[in-house]
């Protein structure tokens, strides 16, 4: 009989024990798999979100960051200058503020909304139009056409054509501007909207009108899309923009990712590393204990096999196969269980305030499976080393004598 066959028989001889051991490996393996998904999940998901927006370069004020963006003066003229660069395909200006939406549908002090001013009027990148029409390219002075998010439309029972009174505030001042009556042009799904946020988007002219001013050319961020068919277009465009306005920060998607990776996402990477290490240590201890106890129960059997002429190599192979079977079956079963668990854990973490609705903490990548298999294999092999040593170094005659006497 081969070592594999012997291992299979040993495991099949105690089905309850084997099922429980495999169940333990499955649950611990599922946790390990999830931690591997978490370690890069935010990065992968955020990258997808950035790429889906269709922009390669982001320009912000030098004093700010991607989260805190002070307004940049002369952004409109900067946008015109950027548009003339050869590698640039599309430009969008962005401004944001908070406002209070006042409606009869809700009592109290109104609903706090994020007001987004943008020069991008097309659907499909930062937002996807669900109903109604897109923002108009030209508006009458003082008019504020808006797109509202699905969540806000549902909360305030808004439809395309509805009127939405907005109250805005002067920055740095404890007073409010007169109420502005915005016109709901359409309802859209916003990629970057958080689960606890309501988004209202308007044109740059509408944004200024809501603040009681004519368009002033100020923006918080300039988004630039380059010609991706030309290699190196992103780098050359970024360098050209930096030359145009050295007082601003020009960030590629990679640099934005790096910023978030170093700050906002690092906690989850660290926690996943700590939990993965602890999970592996836990799996190692438990598998080693199970196999050691199993060997201890079969010392007489092992001694008898050795006495019959079984080489140490075959005894070691038998125990190794036993470990492979337990860890292998448990590890395989851990993948679907881990996927299910990841959905639950992801749902919990996405309740965190300020997290965009489309951002996920647990994201599947093929490398996670490879890493999962490699780590569990190494753990299984390491865990079987001590029981193998115990079985192969066993004194045959003394063990047989002890077995007969007992």
């Amino acid at each position: 009989m081969t070592a594999w066959g012997l291992a299979w028989r040993t495991i099949a001889r105690s089905p309850a024990r084997s099922v429980l051991a495999v169940a333990g490996v499955t649950v611990i393996g599922a946790l390990l798999f999830d931690m591997l998904l978490l370690s890069r999940g935010l990065l992968v998901s955020f990258r997808e979100l950035l790429d889906a927006a269709g922009f390669d370069i982001r320009v912000v004020a030098a004093e700010g960051s991607m989260v805190h963006r002070p307004p940049m003066a002369d952004a409109a003229s900067l946008a015109e200058a950027i548009a003339r660069l050869p590698d640039v395909r599309r430009i969008t200006l962005v401004r944001s503020d908070t406002a209070i939406a006042i409606t009869a549908a809700r009592s109290g002090g109104g609903t706090r909304v994020s007001l987004l001013g943008t020069s991008d009027l097309t659907s499909g990148s930062v937002w996807t139009l669900v109903s109604g029409s897109l923002l108009p390219s030209a508006t009458a002075p003082g008019e504020v056409p808006v797109l509202v998010s699905l969540r806000l439309a549902a909360a305030l029972q808004l439809q395309p054509g509805s009127s939405l009174p907005l109250r805005l505030f002067l920055p740095g001042s404890a007073s409010a501007l007169p109420l502005v009556s915005a016109h709901v042009a359409g309802i859209a799904q916003f990629s970057f909207e958080a689960a606890d946020e309501y988004t209202v988007a308007t044109t740059m002219e509408g944004f200024a009108a809501a603040h009681g001013k004519p368009a002033d050319g100020v923006a918080e961020m300039v988004l630039v899309s380059t010609d991706s068919t030309q290699p190196g277009s992103e780098a050359s465009a970024a360098a050209a923009i930096a030359r145009l306005r050295p007082d601003l920060r020009v960030l590629s998607n990679d640099q934005v990712m790096e910023q978030f990776n170093q700050n906002a996402f690092s906690y989850f990477r660290q926690i996943s590393t700590v939990l993965s290490s602890m999970t592996l240590a836990f799996a190692f201890l438990l598998i080693a204990t199970l196999l050691t106890m199993s060997v201890n129960q079969r010392l007489g059997e092992v001694a008898a096999l050795r006495a019959l002429g079984f080489p140490r190599r075959r005894i070691a192979a038998n125990l190794l196969w036993e470990s492979v079977l337990l860890v292998g079956v448990g590890g395989l079963a851990a993948l679907p269980v881990g996927a299910l668990l990841a959905v639950i854990l992801d749902r919990i973490l996405r309740e965190m305030p300020g997290v965009p609705g489309r951002l996920h903490f647990f994201v599947f990548e093929p490398r996670a499976i490879l890493l999962h298999v490699a780590l569990l294999s190494v753990t299984g092999v390491l865990a079987s080393l001590y029981p193998i040593w115990l079985a192969t170094r066993l004194p045959i005659a003394a063990t047989l004598r002890r077995e007969i006497l007992s």
Partner: protein, 289 residues
């Protein structure tokens, strides 16, 4: 704003300013206004008490003024900003207002970023916030207590950690059961002999229960001791990684009791389940006859 005591509420303001250090302390420095700098800034710019620094609002030197460093301080750990580099300076509020004042805007000399208010009765925080918000439009007023609707980030993180702990407990329970089944198998003949000489199943079960209680309690206590012993290492790692005094792991009495409350019954249950399989069997079968 005028109704609130600005001076009392904001004895100090925390400002994020661009610091340019002049690394020479001179006797003239005694006349300069004093400031405190964060430990992180002191380490990064190699500043010491007595040094003179120039603070400005931007890299061009707008509103620049000279200050004397009187000492360093450890910023209050903020879990919401633990990944941020705490390069901070504490200046007296009048000095900050002088720096940030805009000549053409008289109101800028009376501007503040935030006001902290300590209420006589903290229970009225919600009502007080609503009252201030309705009187001062454009202000964002909120109680400092954690939101009770479970939406604050730490409540979410807590739920996540509880879920991970629950999965770990599930996995370890399966392993524990497997070990207990093996242990029961090991004692098959012993239990058979004990039953043959007339010891009742109830007595055997009680013995298993007592043994399970002892082992589970010892395991739980060992686990807590291990957690207490290693919490320092985990904290040191994260404090080093993020350059903060924030405590990431703390084994509290309530956590220790929760661990015992979960692990001891599970341990006993696993022992009972393992032994129950033997007690149900016929005595002769246990002895292999």
């Amino acid at each position: 704003m005028s109704g609130l005591n600005r001076g009392r509420a904001c004895a100090f303001a925390v400002a994020f300013l661009i610091a340019a250090a002049l690394p020479v302390a001179t006797p003239a420095s005694t006349g300069l206004p004093p400031i405190l700098i964060s430990r992180q800034l002191a380490e990064r710019e190699h500043l010491n008490a007595g040094d003179i620094v120039t603070l400005a609002l931007d890299a061009e030197g707008t509103g620049s003024r000279r200050f004397r460093v009187d000492g360093t301080y450890e910023p209050t750990p903020d879990p919401l900003r633990f990944t941020a580099k705490r390069l901070e300076v504490r200046v007296h509020l009048p000095e900050l207002v002088t720096m940030t004042e805009v000549r053409d805007d008289p109101a800028s000399a009376d501007a503040l970023t935030a006001i902290n208010v300590k209420l006589k009765n903290p229970q009225t925080a919600d009502a007080f916030s609503a009252a201030v918000a309705s009187r001062a439009p454009g202000t964002f007023v909120r109680p400092t207590a954690r939101a009770r609707d479970g939406s604050d980030p730490f409540a979410v993180l807590e739920r996540f950690h509880v879920a991970v702990a629950a999965v770990t407990v599930l996995g370890s329970t399966a392993f524990l059961l497997a070990l207990m089944v093996m242990r029961a198998e090991e004692r098959r003949e012993t239990i058979g002999i004990i039953r043959l000489i007339g010891i009742s199943e109830r007595s055997i079960l009680l013995e298993v229960l007592a043994e399970g209680l002892l082992i589970a309690t010892a395991g739980a206590v060992f686990g807590i001791v291990l957690a207490v012993a290693t919490q320092g290492t985990v904290n040191q790692f994260f404090q080093w990684r993020y350059d903060t005094a924030l405590v990431f792991v703390r084994v509290t009495r309530s956590i220790a009791l929760q661990s015992i409350a979960v692990s001891v019954p599970l341990g006993i249950l696993a022992g009972l389940v393992g032994s129950w399989t033997l007690l149900r069997r016929d005595v002769l079968a246990l002895l292999g006859r």
